[in-house]
């Protein structure tokens, strides 16, 4: 197994309060890793630090051996880490297709000048990316809605759209922030199928999710956070039997 992401003794401090304290874990290639914990445990903060939205105070994050702390979000995205958002952040006034095409941004080369002049290779690239985006929409099952405005989709489909958009960046690691929130049972089932399909493509997944049934079903490994600290790590079965985790969830 190839190690792709390693987080070592990471601290994040907001205004004197530690949101994360001395957290470390690793992700292997092709693995679904879940980050769980009660509300306020620091899961979303962790994800925001990895994707460059928030800066860490101390510690290291390495991605394929390269230290990525302090890099701008778009640079981290280009290295191969992509994400979805807890509160959906689709580009509301753009079509579903265009949303996915934004995801293709990093592997396009047109700039302001060549785009404006609409040079031949720009148009060719545009066609290529459009086909790529359509293929992705087909993959996630939103192809028939490609020309709808993103904001017109129900919330569940917007979450799926975010996944398609994230996949369009050709990630090596996909971070999903509560992707099943607000989905009904059949949607959730479809979602778990989708996640497995993504895994088959060789993309690692870092998942934050509250739906424990889903987490236990699809995860390969789990890391449990509480009050900004790692309290347990292991396979779903190990975690389910861990008294410390039970304490954290039930004992408060």
């Amino acid at each position: 197994m190839e190690l792709i992401l390693s987080v070592d003794s990471l601290d994040v401090i907001f205004g004197g309060l530690a949101a994360l304290k001395d957290v470390g874990f690793t992700i292997q290639k092709g693995v679904i890793k879940s980050l769980i914990g009660p509300n306020g445990a620091g899961k979303s903060t962790m994800l925001n630090v990895i994707t460059g939205v928030i800066q860490s105070t101390k510690g290291d994050i390495h991605f394929y051996g390269k230290r990525i702390n302090g890099l701008a979000a778009h640079k981290i995205s280009r290295l191969g880490i992509s994400r979805t958002f807890q509160h959906v952040e689709t580009f509301a006034k753009m079509s579903v297709l265009e949303n996915v095409m934004v995801g293709c941004h990093s592997h396009m080369s047109a700039n302001l000048l060549t785009s404006g002049l609409s040079l031949f290779n720009v148009r060719r690239e545009e066609d290529r990316v459009k086909n790529e985006a359509l293929a992705l929409l087909d993959f996630v099952g939103l192809l028939d809605k490609k020309y709808q405005e993103a904001s017109s989709l129900p919330i569940g489909e917007q979450r799926i759209l975010e996944i398609a958009r994230a996949l369009a960046t050709r990630p090596k690691l996909l971070c999903l922030d509560e992707p099943a929130a607000g989905l009904n049972e059949s949607d959730t089932n479809q979602f778990s199928i989708l996640v497995r399909e993504i895994k088959k493509k060789g993309i690692s997944i870092l998942l934050i999710e509250h739906d424990m049934k889903l987490v236990m079903k699809i995860s390969d490994e789990l890391t449990v956070l509480n009050y900004g600290q790692k309290i347990a790590e292991g396979t779903p079965i190990e975690i389910q039997n861990d008294p410390v985790v039970h304490e954290a969830y039930l004992g408060g």
Partner: protein, 324 residues
């Protein structure tokens, strides 16, 4: 609304080509040609502003400054140093772009009302410089005697020639912008507008694109300023004050922020309103201007460009009622 068909581009070019002759042939409105020239000059600025504000979502209350920088550089270098006007337009364009870059890097980190104030401050400071540096700009009395443009040895000395110079530039700027909107860059800009975090997570260099489009809009404003200088042949600072920046804002919003056509419609309508139609109200002019502006903001929040859609919606409703 973002898709601008080939057909509509051709129709637009046709209108641009034919329009002056309609006015030319009717003596009662022959002066509309002059107004259209100024409208075209404004269009060049509003197209850039529309990209910056409508698409990338970054407000600017300081674009009169870039318009002024273009105009004064053209005016000063041609009259005082006798340089070739086209060279001056190029110099002005580079200087404006450079200033926009220097100002944009720190300013575009600001958001919302803070960004509005930042650009506003830049605009006012530039205006004060125009007003104070009397040796170069002539101060509040202005500077005259700016020569007319020549193209390949032919002077552009009639309204008709100037009209085509300005409006063909508008057409080029429009086509460029339309291509831009429907490309990688355009999508990135619109993505930034909705969510900077999401855009950057998709690999979009948010700060970089904001600067790029700010510089681009400043360059368009500068070219527009140079054309203005050579057409009116006289410059004074009040043409580039805060109120002109606000007027540009009004053009964009009145025409419709979310469409590049809105920029053009807004510029043309405001030019005709302020130079021609509102004159009929005499001392009520200011009142009428405020009232019209308010009515558009209230009833057409998406600008005049949304009017045909609303219009046809109403007609369709009416027709379906009749059928039923």
């Amino acid at each position: 609304m973002f898709h601008i068909t080939i057909k509509s581009r051709i129709v637009f070019i046709a209108i641009v080509l034919i329009c002056p002759w309609i006015f030319y042939l009717i003596p009662a409105v022959s002066h509309y040609l002059d107004i259209l020239i100024f409208a075209g000059i404004y269009c060049l600025i509003t197209i850039g502003l529309s990209l910056l504000m409508g698409y990338a979502g970054q407000i600017s209350l300081g674009h009169a400054a870039f318009f002024g920088i273009g105009a004064y550089i053209s005016g000063i270098l041609t009259t005082k140093y006798g340089l070739n006007p086209w060279v001056c337009i190029l110099i002005a364009l580079f200087v404006s772009g450079f200033i926009a870059y220097c100002i944009g890097v720190p300013t575009l980190k600001l958001h919302g009302h803070y960004l509005a104030m930042g650009t506003l401050a830049f605009g006012i400071i530039t205006f004060i410089i125009f007003n104070e540096e009397i040796t170069y700009t002539g101060g509040p009395d202005g500077m005259g005697n700016i020569k007319e443009l020549q193209l390949l040895g032919f002077p552009i000395d009639t309204n008709m020639k100037y009209y085509y110079l300005v409006w063909l530039t508008v057409v080029l700027a429009l086509l460029f912008s339309v291509n831009l909107i429907q490309s990688r860059v355009g999508r990135a800009l619109r993505a930034i507008h909705t969510s900077e975090v999401a855009a950057s997570s998709m690999g979009v260099n948010v700060a970089g694109y904001k600067i790029q489009i700010f510089v681009f809009s400043a360059i368009l404003a500068s070219i527009s300023g140079s054309f203005y200088a050579h057409y009116i042949k006289f410059l004074n600072p009040t043409s580039f004050d805060l109120f002109f920046s606000i007027k540009l804002l009004i053009m964009i919003v009145m025409g419709g922020m979310r469409s590049i056509w809105g920029a053009i419609i807004g510029a043309v309508i405001i030019a005709f309103l302020s130079f021609e139609w509102l004159g009929a109200f005499h001392e009520f002019e200011t009142l009428a201007y405020g009232a019209i502006l308010l009515l558009v903001t209230i009833f057409l929040p998406d600008g005049l460009v949304s009017l045909p859609g609303k219009f046809s919606e109403q007609i369709n409703k009416y027709l379906s009622k009749i059928k039923a």
